[in-house]
């Protein structure tokens, strides 16, 4: 039997609640309802799930989804070994067996035929058929399925099927308000509040440009990076260029505008 504890979140992660999301999540968990967390990249979705796992004191198994992922990567497969073959549970199966929260991060990245395997786990059946193994696994009573997805880069090819969406309760996340976000930066990195506020301001500039040359604004994650660099002794302007601007765009006009926003915000 797998050791549950290795999947437990050992230390309380820092999570800045923005509304009633913690209580709501707890309610969903009590009913073991599947949860979907929507929101742009780097806005705290993963951190939230991690925090909830810690708070509920449940193991957490996270799967970062990608295009090459197959159903077997989730459910499990036979491996060859010296004695012939051996079944290895996939992360989803492990979670269902031990009663963990299974977090499928960026689920839309996976192909649609992959995602249908989660369906039986998300309704009253709470089962996972392991066809190859000939087993119908009944999920542990503590098991819960959580997925995250970023509606920002929605495209016809990369959207969740309606039949999938309809199985989840959902949280709509967005970048926090300026004050909260500055707070997050300061608490996360120990950065001076005034500088955090400036970083947030630059983030806002990029977010205003979303849809006008930028697909995604600057994420809270990138702001945390910038703060970390500054803490490490990098000059603020250079840190911002490196952590906030260069990663998100190659468009010269946008780069110029964001660079100017940095200069305008961090006056010399």
């Amino acid at each position: 039997m797998t050791n549950k504890d290795q999947y437990k979140v050992a230390q309380e992660p820092f999570y800045q609640a923005q509304g009633g999301e913690v209580a709501l999540y707890e309610a969903a968990y009590r009913a073991r309802l599947p949860v979907m967390v929507k929101g742009p990249t780097g806005c705290g979705k993963s951190r939230f799930v991690e925090y909830m796992a810690w708070k509920l004191d449940k193991p957490l198994i996270t799967v970062a989804c990608n295009e090459d992922m197959t159903a077997s990567d989730l459910v499990g497969r036979y491996l060859l070994d010296a004695n012939g073959t051996r079944w290895l549970d996939g992360p989803l199966t492990v979670a269902a067996r031990i009663g963990a929260i299974c977090y499928l991060d960026e689920i839309v990245e996976a192909r649609q035929d992959t995602t249908v395997v989660i369906h039986p786990l998300t309704d009253h059946r709470r089962t996972l058929p392991l066809d190859k193994k000939g087993e119908l696994l009944a999920a542990h009573p503590d098991f819960q399925l959580v997925i995250s997805y970023n509606p920002g880069y929605q495209s016809l090819m990369k959207d969740l099927k309606q039949s999938t969406k309809q199985r989840f309760t959902a949280f709509d996340f967005d970048y926090p308000t300026a004050d909260v976000e500055a707070d997050i930066l300061s608490k996360e990195t120990g950065m001076d509040k005034a500088i955090s506020a400036k970083l947030v301001k630059i983030g806002a500039v990029a977010r205003n440009l979303k849809g006008h040359g930028l697909d995604e604004g600057i994420s809270t994650r990138l702001l945390v990076y910038a703060a970390t660099l500054i803490n490490g002794g990098v000059a603020p302007r250079a840190a911002c260029r490196m952590a906030l601007v260069r990663p998100i765009t190659d468009d010269a006009d946008i780069r110029d505008t964001l660079d100017h926003a940095i200069d305008a915000t961090f006056a010399q």
């Binding site: 440009l209 040359g213 505008t257 100017h260 926003a261 006056a267 010399q268």
Partner: protein
């Protein structure tokens, strides 16, 4: 030779100059003083000998006059050595068939030097000129060196403007294009070098230095969107040509207007004392100049609230605008501190003692200093009020955003505290007071609709109107130069004054004299009036019972309806006519002539006609204003305020009419443009400008007869575009020759001037019926 006006110490030079042209003598002493102040003794000798050469060249007095005036300052900029090269160039022109180009060449010399700054750059320019001359002279059909270069004189006329837009390299490219493509087409060559042909302008645009709006629209759109969340249409206006007013950024419903190009801003080199600890001024890229301008505008759009203009005098308004500019910039810098060095670099820093407060109006100077002091914590101003108000400003801002209204209070108080006698002076100190990234603040003012206020309110207004107008700074207007098809920007200065007062009883006497006419008119007016009544029904209280409604209500009541309509009255409103009128009266010298066939002067007849007309319009209730105008060169066009829209036809106005006098000339276009800016603010559906004149537009400094006629014609067109209908009542029997050129079909000629008092009101009535 007569040497009466030559001071003894200059006599030697005067002899050396050996110049017989009459116009040279009166200016010689002045020029010499300048020359001796800026040139070395050797330089002065050369100055004289060069001038002497120009005087003997056989091209009249112009070349020597121009040279005497501009050479000292040119040499001061470029160094005396540079004059040799310039004179060498003159000699080449002189020996070629291009003698005509010498005066324009010399005329542009100082402006060119100011742009190019160095002898080396000047040499590039002279090389360019010589190359141009060589290649375009006499090349028509291969006949050599006998025809002058067609484009050269025009080129010199344009070159100051060209160099304000182009680098010397850009100029060379522009010239090259024209010479290459139009060397065999004299007319087209002229079109090209007068900037009239499309390709000439296109090449100019291509060669422009600086940052073009068109090239940066996307970036600036991102700037507004990203940093200010205020995406807005950006519309360029041209600094190069075709502008009506001196352009300044602004915004309105259609978008934000910005110059089509900005040069990089390079701070002037100033010598500072070693103790001056302040950081040196920085350069600002053209792109950042756009951003500064947009930041200022975005800040207004975010934080400014319009205030009622009518409550403030013009001086107060300037102060309020300035403080509000400072406030929104303060807030913008709080948001983006990096704006500060940009604003600091672009904001002028007037020297404290630059303005002669005895003789010049220092209003702009004081305010610019205050604005600087607010922006620049390390300012050096000592003026106690500047320091005090800058402190007060910061104190106020420390407690929050403050408001436009608070700035208005502070502006009014600043004006009151710092008032000087010289504020009223027409000579306003402008130098270093313009903050060119700021918009024109048109959004800041809300004008109360004028016309139907209570009597008492209007009376109150009278006093304000006077205070407002006394000592207004001159307004600069462009003038249309038909020969070049361009506007001469800021060409005409219009001074507005309240018309002097006379005895109002004189006007009452005139009205009495025409009592019979008034009676006849009254009948006509009454015919006009009833049609204007609009019935307003469904009134609980009104002037008459509305039978239809009353019956309906009664039936409802009888049949037991719980709520019969109580609105059974009706009333009337006079609003069928919505016409605002401006009477613009020519007050030029010629009005003093006796009118043909009677012994009154045209002025007296005009006065009578105006009195009756004013009486009639007042009866009709149309908003109307009266102003007179005359001019004494483009530098001095006087616009005399007789009646404003907010004033009623009463003793005050009558007394001004009574004092009407005639003198000077008729620069009609400028007066019309100025009158239009009042008429434009009226909210009426129709706007009528009636021009009463006895002759054609003319002025002493305009030698080309057509010039002012064409300008007036252009003014009519401009007004038409502003929705103002211009109409001329002309008392000159010979007006047929020009009046149609100006006003098209919109005129009447009154041959028998004696009938004017009768004709004018009738004409007005039939025009507005």
């Amino acid at each position: 030779m007569e040497t009466l006006n030559i001071p003894p110490e200059l006599e030697r030079y005067w002899k050396d100059l050996d110049c017989g042209f009459k116009p040279v003598e009166p200016v010689f002493a002045e020029c010499m003083r300048e020359a001796m102040a800026v040139l070395s003794p050797q330089g002065v000798e050369e100055y004289i000998s060069n001038a002497r050469f120009l005087g003997k060249m056989g091209r009249g007095a112009e070349p020597i006059l121009v040279f005497l005036e501009v050479a000292p300052n040119t040499a001061k900029i470029l160094g005396e050595e540079a004059m040799h090269a310039i004179m060498a160039c003159v000699k080449v022109l002189w020996k070629s068939p291009n003698g005509k180009a010498i005066t324009p060449f010399l005329q542009s010399m100082h402006a060119v030097a100011e742009r190019l700054r160095t002898a080396e750059q000047m040499q590039h320019y002279l090389d360019l000129v010589l190359d141009f001359t060589e290649r375009t002279t006499g090349s028509v059909h291969g006949i050599h060196k006998t025809f002058p270069s067609p484009g050269l004189p025009d080129f010199f006329n344009q070159v100051p403007r060209l160099l304000s837009l182009l680098t010397i390299q850009g100029l060379r490219n522009w010239v090259e294009y024209g010479v290459r493509y139009y060397n065999n087409h004299p007319e087209r060559q002229i079109d090209y070098f007068t900037l009239q042909s499309a390709d000439s302008r296109a090449v100019l645009q291509r060669e422009r230095q600086g940052t073009l709006l068109v090239d940066n629209e996307r970036k600036l759109d991102m700037y507004m969107r990203g940093l200010w969340r205020d995406p807005e249409q950006l519309i360029p206006y041209s600094l190069a040509y075709d502008e009506l007013r001196k352009p300044q950024p602004y915004f309105d419903k259609l978008g934000i207007r910005l110059p089509d190009a900005y040069d990089d801003f390079v701070p002037a080199v100033t010598v500072r004392s070693a103790r001056d600890q302040r950081p040196a001024a920085v350069s600002v890229s053209g792109l950042n100049r756009y951003r500064a301008c947009l930041a200022h505008i975005a800040a207004h759009r975010r934080w400014s609230k319009a205030v009622i203009a009518d409550n403030f005098s013009p001086f107060q308004r300037i102060a309020i605008e300035l403080l509000e500019d400072s406030r929104v910039e303060y807030l913008a810098m709080r948001e983006y501190p990096g704006l500060r060095p940009i604003f600091m670099a672009l904001h002028p820093e007037p020297e404290e003692d630059a303005c002669d407060t005895e003789h010049e109006s220092s209003i702009r100077h004081r305010l610019a200093m205050l604005s600087r002091a607010i922006l620049d914590a390390q300012h050096s101003y000592q003026h106690p009020y500047i320091v005090e108000y800058a402190n007060r400003f910061h104190e106020l801002m420390r407690s929050g955003d403050a408001s436009t209204a608070e700035m208005a209070d502070m502006g009014v108080s600043f004006i009151a505290k710092t008032r000087l006698k010289s504020d009223q002076s027409a000579k306003i100190h402008f130098k270093n007071t313009e903050v060119d990234y700021r918009d024109d603040n048109r959004h800041l003012w809300q004008f109360i609709e004028q016309g139907d206020e209570e009597e008492t309110f209007a009376d109150q207004n009278n006093a304000q109107v006077e205070e407002a107008i006394e000592g207004l700074p001159p307004r600069l207007y462009p003038e249309w130069d038909y020969s070049n098809s361009t506007y001469r920007p800021d060409w005409v200065s219009v001074y507005e004054r309240i018309h002097p007062h006379g005895n109002p009883a004189d006007i009452d006497a005139l009205l009495n004299k025409h009592a019979a006419l008034a009676k006849r008119l009254k009948k006509l007016l009454d015919l006009l009036k009833p049609q204007d009544k609009v019935r307003i029904r469904y009134q609980e209280e009104g002037s008459e019972l509305d039978l239809d409604v009353a019956l309906r209500s009664l039936i409802d009541y009888k049949s037991g309806s719980s709520s019969p309509d109580p609105r059974i009255n009706m009333s009337h409103r006079n609003d069928g006519r919505s016409i605002a009128v401006m009477l613009l009266v020519d007050l030029s010298e010629s009005l003093n002539q006796k009118a043909a066939g009677c012994d009154q002067t045209i002025l007296q007849l005009s006065q009578e006609a105006l009195s009756i007309l004013s009486w009639a319009i007042e009866k009709l209730g149309d908003p109307f204003a009266i102003a007179g105008f005359h001019s004494n060169t483009r530098h001095d066009v006087r616009y005399l305020h007789i009646k404003g829209y907010s004033e009623h036809w009463g003793d005050e106005v009558k007394s001004r009419l009574a004092a009407m006098e005639a003198g000077y000339s008729t620069r009609m276009g400028a007066a019309m443009r100025h009158a239009a800016h009042y008429l434009e603010r009226q909210t009426a559906d129709k706007k009528l400008l009636l021009v009463l004149t006895d002759g054609e537009p003319a002025d002493v400094d305009s030698h080309d007869e057509r010039m002012l006629i064409e300008d007036a014609r252009m003014a009519v067109k401009e007004l038409d575009q502003q929705g103002i209908f211009s109409y001329c009542i002309n008392l000159d029997p010979k007006a047929d020759e020009y009046v149609a050129d100006i006003f098209g079909k919109q005129y009447t000629i009154i041959d028998n001037v004696a009938q004017l008092p009768e004709k004018l009101p009738q004409l007005f009535i039939s025009l507005t019926k």
